[in-house]
Subunit: 314 residues, 2 copies
């Protein structure tokens, strides 16, 4: 399907869950069998371990969830070998049918924004980090988002714009009140307009190719932002390790149980470190811990949010 | 000198100019002698051309200016080979004594911000893109900036935070008025506090390791922001190709003629394409066009801004 929102909607319906798995590899947290056999591994050895680990995650979650979200920072941290690994991970996840949202929070102005958009959202055969979707930061304003929207739309891809974030200091600028509304509501209005301007082909939903990142640590704000942005998919981080629970994210969904994807990173990919799984699964069985954590999250979201309605789909 | 502001201040005094050269390589604009000899160059060929071009720029400007600003987007656009090229360009510029400000406008929260900071601002021997300074976006708030400040300070490096940008749509969110002040002034107050908290050793200036990006297309705002941020170096883009002139940036300097560095990218690195230089210099002499454009900019800034006072230094 040549539209991001159509593709994401179909993937959520097919897997009957809004669970999104964040791929944030960190050397110290990799399961023992994947640790490089040396005290000072080279960037290439670390990059190779990240690829093996990420592929292992993808193999487990591809039949269970609609999408994954690789975090660029952890790959960039190991340099060019790391960015090569990121490219491989993106490609592998897409080959397994997953929607890939690369989390890089890029932005710039004019032709520089264009270069970033070409790097992540261009045609697969000429784009080094060819993703379905990229996260983008809004501070630089409307014209900084346009190159991303244009290139995303041309190639059937999408963007998620930061609107309200889940960190404790996120309110410092986002919550400032101007013209009787917090800054994040101003951002939300622009984001919904961009979504309205970029509708899909599938008339069973009303989402555009521009979505919004909305933190799950603020449940009331999630409800308000769902209202401001009826046409945007919401990417909700902060589930699990960052403190949000299934009931906190319920406000993000539409009446069909669509419209929000809920991210968990550490709680799933490093499930082998969680107390409840450490005893059940030995280090070589780390993928079974990932599977158990993913199924737990899927069940929690189905039980406590409108996404439960997805279970009724034939 | 183990503090970014001390190092930048010394470099500006030594070269007697605040001119900053932006390294934004684009294949279509490279001088003819550096174009790959094939219609469809591989990423490795493009990356190699970018390295040769960037080194050619650096060789010309290293004796003339204090600092360069490579733009990550143009390197990322060609994939892992491009990020390897970026690493080489940063290293080469530092080896020539230039202060290197990597323009990547990164940000994220918590341990992800930490990963970005480690990728660009950590110790040179273990940091893939080891720069003197990184540009950072503020939308995610105070706690998203802290990891960058901490790691920068530990390693004698710095950050420039986006405060007011020079693009036409920059005002959409930055100019919203909350508590009687535009959002960019709220950001400026935090940035100056972070600068105050991170002073250098050199008592002849009062700048910290946190600076601010302030667009040159708004001269009055530059004056106001210089007042709000007496302790931050300002990085002023928008000179030349983006429409700002020397007189427009005058308000960014302190009484000593310090405190602002003025960026030009296209106007200098693609000087061989400018009408006034096309006739004087043939394509193989593109570096002489770069030199002429740099000297023009230096002269303009010395004549029309308080940076002229730097000429009186012995």
């Amino acid at each position: 399907m040549h539209h991001f929102a159509d593709r994401l909607t179909a993937a959520v319906r097919r897997t009957k869950t809004p669970a999104l798995v964040g791929i944030d590899p960190r050397l110290a947290n990799l399961p023992a069998p994947l640790q490089p056999n040396t005290e000072s591994p080279s960037p290439e050895q670390v990059a190779n371990a990240f690829v093996q680990f990420s592929k292992g995650i993808i193999d487990v979650v591809a039949p269970l969830v609609p999408a994954v979200k690789p975090q660029s920072a952890f790959f960039e941290q190991i340099g060019p070998a790391g960015t090569a690994a990121l490219g491989q991970v993106i490609q592998y996840a897409r080959s397994k049918g997953l929607v890939v949202i690369t989390d890089a929070k890029r932005n710039d102005i004019g032709s520089t924004a264009d270069a970033y958009a070409q790097a992540y959202l261009g045609p697969p055969d000429s784009t080094p980090f060819a993703s379905d979707c990229l996260t983008v930061s809004p501070y630089l304003g409307e014209d900084s988002l346009e190159p991303f929207v244009t290139i995303a739309q041309q190639n059937g891809n999408g963007i998620f714009v930061l609107v309200k974030t889940s960190n404790p200091g996120g309110g410092r600028f986002q919550d400032l009140v101007a013209d009787k509304q917090p800054v994040y509501q101003h951002v939300a209005q622009l984001v919904n307009q961009l979504a309205l301007d970029t509708p899909g082909q599938d008339s069973s939903h009303s989402y555009g190719c521009v979505g919004a990142v909305v933190g799950a640590t603020y449940p009331e704000q999630l409800v308000a932002l769902r209202q401001t942005m009826p046409n945007t998919w919401l990417l909700v981080p902060g589930y699990g390790a960052q403190g949000g629970g299934a009931s906190d994210v319920a406000g993000g969904f539409d009446k069909q149980g669509l419209g929000a994807i809920i991210n968990s990173s550490r709680g799933i990919i490093f499930a082998h470190e969680r107390e409840e799984f450490r005893e059940r699964f030995s280090p070589p069985d780390w993928q079974r811990a990932v599977e158990a954590a993913t199924l737990d999250m899927i069940a929690g979201l189905a039980a406590e949010t409108p996404a439960g309605k997805l279970q009724d789909l034939s």
